[in-house]
Amino acid sequence: MATHAAFMPGEAAAAPSGLWSWITTVDHKRIGILYGTSAFIFFLVGGIEALIMRLQLAAPDNTLVGAQRFNELFTMHGTTMVFLAIMPMSAAFFNYMIPLLIGARDVAFPRLNALSYWVFLAGALLLNASFVVGAAPDGGWFGYATLTSKQFSPGQSIDFWVLGLQILGLSSLMAGFNFIVTIVNMRAPGMTLMRMPVFVWMSLVVQFLVVLAFPAITVALILLMFDRFFGTLFYAPAAGGDPLLWQHLFWIFGHPEVYILILPAMGIVSEVLPTFARKPLFGAPVVIYSGIMIGFFGFGVWSHHMFAVGMGPVADSAFSIATMLIAIPTGVKIFNWIGTLWSGSIRFTAALYFSLGFIAMFIMGGLSGVMHASPPVDLQQTDTYFVVAHLHYVLFGGSIFGLFSGAYYWWPKITGRMLDERLGTLHFWLMLIGFNVTFFPMHYLGLIGMPRRIYTYAPDLGWNFWNLVSTVGAFLIAVSFLVFIANVWKTMRAGAVASPDPWDGRTLEWAIASPPPVHNFGVIPTVHGRDELWLQKHGDGHGGTPAPRPPAPTRQDLASIHMPPPSYWPILLAASMLFMMSGALISIYQVVLGGLLTLYCMFRFALEYHRPHPQESLR
């Protein structure tokens, strides 16, 4: 890596430091770290909620928490894990990795990117503030009408949920547009669409899903907000409204949302497997097409969440067949991953273990998914613990395993330190065993009739033993995350320093220092094929000469790099938005004041102008 001597570790240490630099940062790498850290904290919060629920369900007729607290716990567990843990954890990788993978210096709209993060944090804080004031949402993460109406939920709990989700939706939409523009416009020269790493492709599909699916829930939430705040009757059956409308609007968002949660993990696995099998991704174009197809079909299957509402056999059959069709591109991907591993020269690292865990667990979750794609089967399984088992196999066994594979894979790049592989492997095995002990018995519990969302159950129903097993498993998962935290703690203090390319990687991020300098690339690389770095290091494997490496940056190159300057308007705009939205719970005057403040901040944000500083040069 002699040509990159100018970017050895130490260069990045010159980046500005201190709390203020983090608050005003527009650097995609720092925003990625902020996203990842916040998401992990909320992941732990959601996990603690899950542990309390498992303790409550460990024994029949248990009274650890009451019905009300239990309803709050499962509502907040679902909402937290979907919107505050998995989505922002994916966003952390989008932010940090996409510009590095496509050879860009930042995202297309760096300040908008910062705004996305701060708005996300505002929504997350508003949602969790409900615990502090004792009005945590208790209507389920799906918030089915008419339970969410003022009549049946008179307090402020559902208001917190509605407002929190609206703010989070805003953040996702802004990030979605930002990344679409970034991926379409900011690729390095030579990086055609089909040369893009598969993770970037999956991210692009996810951004389109976000941009097309979030408006549906925004509309649903606005109708609900009108019902609750202004007395309209969109979902009230007594006045001719229709509670079924909510279910349709929610699930036409909710099903693409499932793919928003899983596709980033699929992208990560598609990066990790080729690196550690030391083979190119098997059938990469087909993996990409499959991802696009999954995203496309994702909009045509929402009613499979509603087979039991009596839509009629024609609608049920159509949605059932569409749902089964999704299994085809998903199966194609799984075969491609296995094909990538086939006769590869495999190195078993923690990152690879998590990817393998992803494939195995996701297959099981996918199979139980195809089971209730069939309406007659679904009518026996819907709203039982079988569905709880299925969704955790795809979201925990799928998304979380995939995201942690990414964390272990890119950790050296992001922090400049290697994680301890032995602790990482221990984390994996504890998590895999704990996960299966927790969720596999739920299949059985569901089939013998245990309904979801009950806070306790009678001792004579035959559910006692497997519920206890499930609780034991949940604590095993908790222990595995303690191992992860210990690993991070240990290696941040005294871990081995990571080289720029510790895994012998294939993609552009491994061509630069770990952690990367503020400007990422001294000279924007020219791309000659998929797996550009591999081509530079080893050639195409057919005896051709290796692709040329980008020249070492000259002083002039470095001096001409212009990076976006920091801005405090993103956090101010997000704060004033939070002030306005929380006003809906307190006083109309606060809404008006907050609205004016938001408008002011928007104008200042939009008109912010930076004169290039005469001495501004590369830090």
């Binding site: 208790d138 049946f152 509603m306 039991a308 309406p375």
Partner: protein, 175 residues
């Protein structure tokens, strides 16, 4: 679709065994798809999805008329037990947090069971039979049912309906 020209003969002809496996997979897919209409038409596995629009008040009137008409077979936990004549219209409603009324049906007889909700979305699931059906307010569902075993069947609400969700258990006795 490859963006690099690959050198030499890099591909193999599709093997006969691969063709066979693709064929088997294709046939299996077609069988799976054919099972869907078969389940519905021959197996009688799907509910009939006979659905009408109603309002909670209208449905409540019908249920009260049904309970008043009887014949009443006692009272259980404060709810009337109705033993309707075979081949008649039978009504049951879900509301916070009970299934009303309790029913007593005869084995081997066919009934038309009308379901609706007064307030929230409830789930009509029969324990331990594992049949699930969502009951929404504003919709009247008709299930044609023929009990085939005797005993007590519990109607467990399986759609989350607030704080009393876990207590919402109704009963159908078959004799």
């Amino acid at each position: 679709m490859s963006l690099q020209t690959l050198q030499g003969v890099w591909w193999k002809k599709v093997d006969a065994s691969e063709k066979m496996w693709i064929g088997i997979a294709l046939v299996w897919c077609l069988i799976l798809f054919a099972m869907m209409p078969l389940w519905h038409l021959k197996g009688g596995q799907n509910p009939s999805f006979e659905t009408y629009r109603t309002t909670p008040e209208q449905f409540l009137k019908k249920v009260e008329a049904f309970v008043a008409a009887g014949p009443k077979a006692g009272e259980e936990k404060g709810l009337p037990v109705i033993a309707p004549d075979p081949k008649t219209e039978v009504y049951m409603l879900g509301r916070l947090w009970q299934w009303y009324p309790t029913l007593k049906l005869k084995k081997g007889e066919t009934y038309r069971l009308h379901l609706s909700s007064m307030d929230l979305v409830h789930g009509f699931s029969l324990f331990p039979l594992n049949l699930n059906f969502m009951v929404l307010p504003g919709y009247e569902y008709v299930l044609t049912i023929t009990p085939t075993t005797t005993g007590e069947v519990f109607v467990v609400c399986n759609e989350f309906c607030g704080i009393g969700h876990h207590q919402m258990v109704g009963k159908i006795t078959v004799e």
